[in-house]
């Protein structure tokens, strides 16, 4: 954890924190309950913990760590499908490293690899396509996952495979889309979120217009934020300023990377290859309408789901897991009964413990669970 004095610009950080404290004084909600701000993106979660930003904010502000880590929301059944694909004969299953340790109902991809399946970590879908070129006698399946940030890369790769006439390459498409998910969170009855930090790199692709309904319909502010600690503080300040002034707008704090209109080239490739699914299953959140994409029928030959048989079985999360409640901000990670006991980054039970962008792994790594538990108890007793 860092201290304000170690920030690149400690003067600016202190000023922002001072102004944040002043704004909190002006906001009525803060007099009765903590103001909840959700960071949608796992990159922000990581940054918030790494720099200890939560501890610097006044206690009237509560940060809710959202579902924005694509690895964390992967349901068990999907991991099982990956394992099934990887265990087909003459198959090379390729994936980003982050997905290797996510537990399925029987095993993770890492365990499948130990059991003899040819599972390979790649840096880019282009590497998977290269493997297909070099191994014409094998089927190469790429496990595509991620939000709109990664979608263009797999879309371009599939387009390339089609153009080059590569027959032994396919995509197991698990891409998810952020907007319906934020909407599901806003519609959830046990949810109390007053404002959002919008994801930086997703917005670099989709722009800021798709968020307008959050301001128009739900009257909540959203500020697209960078992930540098000062960016995060600045964005929180912008959210508070809106609330203090009774505004709900979509603002762009990260305009040096995120053009308001998004990236046309990337969006065109995505639209060419993908279409919305009726619904997609999320770990912890259940099924959310239109929250995932699949490949258009023009690309059936490159669609692992249609080219091969995947079990496609829904597997309920283990009973002891409380990932869903953590994801929705109903409980804090250390309140989960298995946190730090049965569930650790080495042996994750739930997906939130797998990557450094998951709320549980972040708490485990950066927060002392016992101290946090005590703190929480203290707070409860006071209440």
């Amino acid at each position: 954890m860092k201290y304000v004095d170690e920030f690149r610009d400690p003067v600016k950080a202190k000023m922002l924190l001072k102004e944040i404290n002043e704004l909190v004084e002006q906001i009525d909600i803060c007099k009765t309950r903590p103001l909840a701000i959700m960071e949608v993106c796992g990159g922000h979660t990581h940054s918030i913990f790494r720099y200890g930003l939560e501890g610097m904010l006044p206690k009237e502000i509560e940060l809710v760590h959202g579902p924005g880590c694509p690895v964390c929301v992967l349901p068990m059944g999907r991991v099982d499908d990956c394992v099934a694909l990887a265990e087909m004969p003459d198959t090379i299953f390729t994936t980003f490293g982050d997905a290797m340790r996510v537990p399925g109902s029987k095993k993770s991809l890492l365990q499948a690899k130990a059991d003899g399946a040819d599972v390979r970590m790649v840096y880019s879908p282009l590497d998977a396509l290269d493997l297909a070129r070099k191994n014409p006698d094998k089927e190469v399946v790429f496990f595509g996952l991620g939000f709109e940030t990664t979608m263009p890369s797999t879309a371009f790769t599939v387009l390339q495979a089609k153009e080059d006439g590569i027959k032994n390459f396919s995509l197991f498409c698990n891409h998810i889309t952020i907007i319906p998910t934020v909407k599901a969170i806003l519609d959830s009855p046990d949810m109390q979120i007053d404002g959002f930090l919008g994801p930086g790199h997703v917005s670099m692709v989709i722009g800021i217009e798709p968020y307008e309904f959050i301001a128009d319909h739900y009257k909540r502010p959203l500020v697209v934020a960078g992930f540098e600690p000062l960016d995060v503080l600045h964005s929180i300040w912008m959210v508070l300023k809106q609330i203090a002034e009774g505004r709900a707008e979509i603002e762009n704090q990260y305009s040096r990377i995120v053009p308001d209109e998004g990236n046309d080239e990337a969006l065109a490739a995505v639209a060419e290859v993908f279409e919305l699914r009726e619904f997609f299953e999320w770990r912890g959140l259940g099924s959310i309408d239109h929250s995932g994409v699949r490949m258009r029928k023009e690309f059936v030959d490159f669609d692992a789901e249609r080219k091969f048989v995947v079990p496609d079985i829904k597997i309920a999360d283990p009973k002891s897991c409380q990932c869903g409640e953590v994801l929705k901000g109903v409980i804090k990670p250390f309140a989960c009964k298995v946190f730090g006991k049965a569930c650790t980054p080495e042996t994750p039970l739930g997906a939130l413990m797998v990557s450094s962008e998951g709320a549980c792994a972040a708490y485990y790594q950066y927060g002392d669970p016992d101290r946090l538990r005590e703190l929480e108890k203290g707070e409860l007793e006071k209440a």
């Binding site: 940054s47 690895v71 980003f96 282009l126 590497d127 940030t149 990664t150 890369s153 371009f156 790199h201």
Partner: protein, 93 residues
């Protein structure tokens, strides 16, 4: 996995496929430039550009100062090392 990493494009390696070589803290690899090429910015204009690279694709052009700042944060988050390592393991040019 979604943060990406900044690098500088040093040459165009495949005109048809719109590929170029990017230099990320001394590690070079081929990436796809399709997302940053458009009517106003030709393939050749890309040489020398600082870009944010995400899983083998240049996702947006950034200025050099932003690249430096981003790299610094990624180092502190431990993500730069991870990305560069993943890149090194796969297809270094």
């Amino acid at each position: 996995m979604c943060l990406g990493i900044p690098g500088q494009i040093v040459e165009i390696s495949d005109r048809v496929r719109r590929f170029g070589i990017v230099d990320i803290s001394g590690v070079k690899r081929e990436i796809n430039l399709a997302c940053i090429v458009n009517e106003d910015h030709s393939l050749d204009d890309c040489v020398g550009d600082w870009v944010l690279v995400h899983v083998g694709f240049a996702m947006s052009r950034i200025d050099e100062k932003e690249a430096e700042l981003t790299m610094e944060v990624l180092r502190e988050l431990g993500e730069a090392q991870e990305e560069i390592e993943a890149m090194r393991l796969s297809g270094q040019k």
